[in-house]
């Protein structure tokens, strides 16, 4: 499990066990890294658990931090809410070194939490968790009528899309005109 340095929980480091003399090779001690979200709460996560995230795995590969350096340089994910990052860290720890099951029933049921989780997981490039989340999002509209789907996923109507498109064109036109005027001013 993760240990939260400024948070509510902290895990005591396990006492190293003495290996029997007959053991072939001593176990390599696991390395840990630190991450924090928008709330600045730092989570201690093992490199093994972080392997789920292609983004973080890419960042820590060949970094060669000592425990102290890792602690002093937590990875900041300011675009992720603290509780969402906690969910991600928990999931990575639970599935560390294990084959991922075909379904995950522990994902949040609330729409907004799931929405934020999907964005975070996509950003952190955690492929399996993203698949579960997307399945869960897809399940939200099972057995629903198009109007109900529109409400759940907040899909704009054709009229709203057209209005937005017009607005975007208008804005782009204005910006282009502004740039032309500025360029003309510079030329003078």
């Amino acid at each position: 499990m993760s240990s939260t340095e400024q948070g509510t929980s902290s895990a005591a480091p396990a006492e190293p066990t003495t290996a029997p003399e007959s053991a072939a090779a001593p176990e390599v001690p696991e390395s840990f890294y630190y991450v924090h979200g928008k709330d600045k709460v730092v989570h201690k996560v093992s490199a093994g658990a972080l392997q789920h995230s292609a983004l973080i795995h890419g960042m820590i590969s060949n970094l060669g931090y000592t425990e102290e350096q890792a602690k002093a340089n937590p990875f900041p994910f300011e675009n992720i809410d603290g509780d969402i990052l906690q969910m991600v860290v928990d999931w990575c720890n639970q599935h560390k070194g294990k084959p991922t099951p075909p379904e995950d029933t522990n994902l949040p049921k609330q729409k907004e939490k799931l929405f934020d989780l999907v964005l975070a997981v996509n950003y952190l490039e955690i492929k399996e968790l993203l698949t579960y989340c997307c399945k869960q999002v897809a399940m939200m509209v099972k057995g629903k009528s198009p109007e109900e789907i529109r409400e759940i996923w907040m899909i704009p109507t054709d009229a709203e899309d057209e209005a937005a498109e017009k607005e975007a064109k208008k804005r782009a036109g204005k910006e282009a005109a502004g740039e032309t005027a500025a360029a003309a001013g510079d030329a003078k």
Binding site: F115, K135, V137, P146, M154
Partner: protein
């Protein structure tokens, strides 16, 4: 939750986890959503081999998507409007407002029609499918029974399976079914009784392929009036004379111009092979040589059945007088096989080794 705020790859993954019936419903939400589905699911849709409408004798139509490699998904049901049901919602389907509800157990959409607008409802739905899935895949109407006419739909091949379960087989209804339906690609008939013969002008005989079981019927008229490409017949009795008549008419070029393959299995009658071959004026290939093998892809492949006709390897053949085309002829184990080659006699004999 705002779906449009997700990056494209996430949207694609979500849609990938939805069933086709759900994507279909989603496509009605907005034009942009329909575009997104078509764009992001292009690879999945390319694995669709056909859209099948299966209509049963009660008039209920189920729509399935058939994927390559035999996997199929139930995407819609088309059924009569039920007054008692209050869960209907309206959708504009290719310009027609249709009442839908969601199937309680399986969650696919159920489109409803009233008796007066059944055909227009089906046409609108079909036009929507043509746009949604594209017109490069096959569309089939598979009718079971003859009580409900097959609608005329763009790009749709029709097939029918008919059993004569009625004691007094209503031949007029049967005739009307073929008269009012489009020409069938395939018809399968299972007759235990002996129905009156069909009108020789019936569109039944224009079917591209027929597969007939006629236990009580001797000498089916198919040997006289068939205008299609492939016929598979299992029949109680048949005489040498009837088979000779058939071959003579083919040889003269007056009938069976499109015929590619006939397989005629005689369940109980006795036909003498030599007598038959003499009667039809069969020509012979030297027994020391190997004749070419006649085998064709079937016009219609029923689920679990072979995709090709049975091979004909025969030393006997006949030649059509009008264009010198050849047909291999084989009579073996009560089965008369007739395979037409798109080759002149000279070209055919060049294939003999």
């Amino acid at each position: 939750m705002i779906l449009s705020k997700y990056p494209y790859l996430v949207q694609r993954e979500i849609l990938h986890n939805m069933e086709i019936s759900e994507l279909l419903l989603l496509s009605f939400v907005s034009k942009n959503m329909k575009k997104l589905i078509k764009l992001s699911q292009m690879c999945r849709f390319s694995r669709i081999s056909s859209v099948d409408y299966s209509s049963d004798p009660k008039g209920l139509t189920d729509v399935h998507i058939e994927f390559k490699h035999d996997y199929r998904e139930h995407i819609m049901r088309i059924w009569e409007y039920e007054e008692a049901d209050n869960d209907y919602f309206k959708l504009n389907v290719s310009g027609k407002i249709i009442d839908f509800r969601i199937h309680e157990r399986y969650s696919y959409p159920v489109a409803s029609f009233h008796s007066y607008d059944k055909v227009s409802v089906i046409k609108s739905i079909h036009n929507y499918f043509l746009d949604f899935f594209g017109d490069s895949i096959e569309y089939w109407w598979k009718a079971v029974g003859y009580k409900h006419v097959v609608p005329q739909l763009q790009n749709v091949s029709a097939s029918a399976i008919i059993f004569d379960t009625d004691k007094d087989f209503p031949i007029r209804k049967f005739e009307n079914f073929f008269f009012s339906s489009p020409v069938f690609k395939n018809i399968e008939l299972f007759f235990l009784t002996k129905p009156e013969p069909l009108n020789p002008d019936s569109k039944f005989y224009q079917a591209e392929s027929v597969d007939i079981d006629q236990h009580e019927h001797t000498v089916p008229a198919i040997l006289r009036h068939f205008q299609g490409r492939q016929a598979f017949v299992r029949c109680h009795k048949c005489e040498t004379l009837e088979l000779k008549e058939f071959v003579d008419r083919w040889k003269s070029g007056e009938s069976f111009r499109k015929l590619e393959y006939l397989e005629f299995n005689i369940l109980h009658g006795r036909v003498n092979q030599n007598q038959l071959l003499n009667a039809i004026g069969a020509k012979h290939i030297d027994v020391t040589k190997t004749p070419p093998t006649h085998m064709l892809p079937k016009v219609f492949v029923s689920f679990g059945k072979k995709e090709t006709t049975d091979p004909i390897i025969s030393h006997t053949y006949v030649v059509r007088e009008s264009d010198n085309r050849v047909a291999s002829v084989l009579f073996e184990r009560r089965t008369f096989s007739f395979g037409v080659w798109d080759k002149t006699e000279e070209e055919f004999l060049e294939m003999v080794q």
